[in-house]
Symmetry: D2
Subunit: 181 residues, 4 copies
């Protein structure tokens, strides 16, 4: 298989890189929330067809296995839920980043994926309940990621995690397509 | 009902306040892990008998409702899992505290408790997989809570969350005893 | 809204009435299994957006509420799993029908739908594990429904429950479309 | 190890054989319901500590593996729920027995136990909702098992499945005790 920069970009970013919208209509927010709301079910329906050897296969050369991708989604979205609640209860808090590559090497990433599918079901229900309760002021609240310029508001956070949901799900479904699944 | 300081202490700390052990035998660690492993099932078996009005009743005058206690356990133990993984992948990291009283007032604390029972099932499976994989060096790794003196190692963290599991479960079961349940 | 026989037929059978295929290719069976495998996730992703008043609304005038439809799917597919196993372990057994209209009026149909979503997740995993293990002889095994002519083989049973999954899911999603959801 | 009839009886019936009570007080029924209500959580908390080789070990020489016991509980209690609903919607129906030994040899009994733990959670919630709704007439309704003398009423059915829950859970926990777990 020849590997070109273009191919690598597509393997890494099958849904494209995250582009923060400049403005958000109510309909934009509704679609963002809907993507977050349905991620656990869409993820479950993809991985339900995979056996252990398939789950232990990387989605691209040198990349995470499909199992690591599932566990990463749980870890990342737990952190996201924490950041959203910090933002609601503090003024422009600086959040704590984490070493996602290091986390993916810990012992719990060898657990059956059901452990993280359950967590995601719970975490996304909480996220959606928060988003659906927001007024304009709450959507505009901000937090600071110490390694990124400026502050992020919760609209952008919601958009980013909708993208992040679809991004990693596509790592799994694109791999499955290559297998004829 | 007369309320004395003693009674208030018992209502607040039905299993006693947390006392960090000075040393940990293998058997101590095994029991700590077992308590963390079984909390989601024990919690589910307690709350499964409660209806919505019961879940919306405080466990002590002025305290959280039983539903808030369940959601708090999920939030607290998600934070704990994050702290454990930060400690495994960074040197003596300073973790980010959160305003647990403020979090308990957010919109997601009105969700059905099933949302948090699922999260706890997943989170505790991850915690236990990590603890069961630890060698002595990993048990001794530390993190700093910016509002507490000194550093905590992961043995003490495990002991504290076993206590925290039993502590809040007892808020629920002691309340149920008063109701003859 | 004018109600014509045609409309009533569409409300009752949004995916059309069940048509048993005459023959089944491997690809047909693969698609049938896939529809059964993904029903619990597709159902969860539909109903996750509904509140209690919406769940308590009939999908057509005089029809079941959306909540009754969810509970019916669990009851029906539990019965189906039982029939499949009877067929695997007895020679052309006569199965026991049940009064689905009467069952839908029992007290357990007022439970939160999560109770049946869980059951369906488990039941469909069992069904799929059986179907995926079948050789040609097992697909051809038969049972008798005392109120229907002839015997049904397990190929036809699989096709029928794939249809039944999509049929009732469409009752829910067609109703949601009318609500602009 | 010497195997005597007494030992074999204890291995087979660790909680004793089922003894149908002659009468049932409200408190008796409350305790029966409580045992059925808490079985899924108690079972999960037992098996959560077992790995695959342990789950694939028989609970007595020549007996089912612990994994088969878990899957049997799901199958048996699904059948029980069906029998209870048949009894509520028909007059003294004759139910369809099944070959539990044959069922335990089917391909789905090699699934991860989580598939049946989920089913049991759902099925027991339905059973309890029915039992808690019963008036005296409903408790007295009967069905006929074609291989057993006389008819069973729903009080006796509830008592039997509470016993059956504890009976098979004890197969697992007694085995774990022998392993020092």
């Amino acid at each position: 298989m020849t590997s070109t920069p273009l191919t690598d970009e597509h393997l890494r970013y099958p849904t494209g890189r995250f582009q923060a919208p400049l403005t958000y209509t109510d309909e934009d927010l509704r679609q963002i929330i809907n993507q977050i709301q349905t991620l656990p079910g869409r993820l479950r329906n993809a991985v339900i067809r995979l056996n252990e050897p398939q789950l232990n296969t990387p989605y691209r050369p040198g990349g995470w296995t499909l199992k690591q991708v599932v566990h990463h989604l749980a870890d990342s979205h737990m952190n996201a839920l924490m950041r959203i609640k910090l933002t609601l209860t503090e003024e422009n808090p600086t959040i704590k980043p984490y070493d996602e590559a290091g986390w993916a090497l810990q012992a719990d990433y060898r657990l059956p994926i059901e452990c993280s599918l359950k967590t995601l079901e719970g975490v996304h229900l909480h996220m959606v309940a928060l988003f659906e309760s927001f007024n304009e002021d709450e959507w505009q609240r901000t937090y600071v990621h110490p390694e990124r310029p400026g502050a992020s508001n919760l609209q952008k956070t919601a958009a980013m995690y909708a993208w992040h949901s679809n991004h990693h799900l596509a790592h799994i479904t694109e791999t499955m397509k290559q297998w004829g699944l």
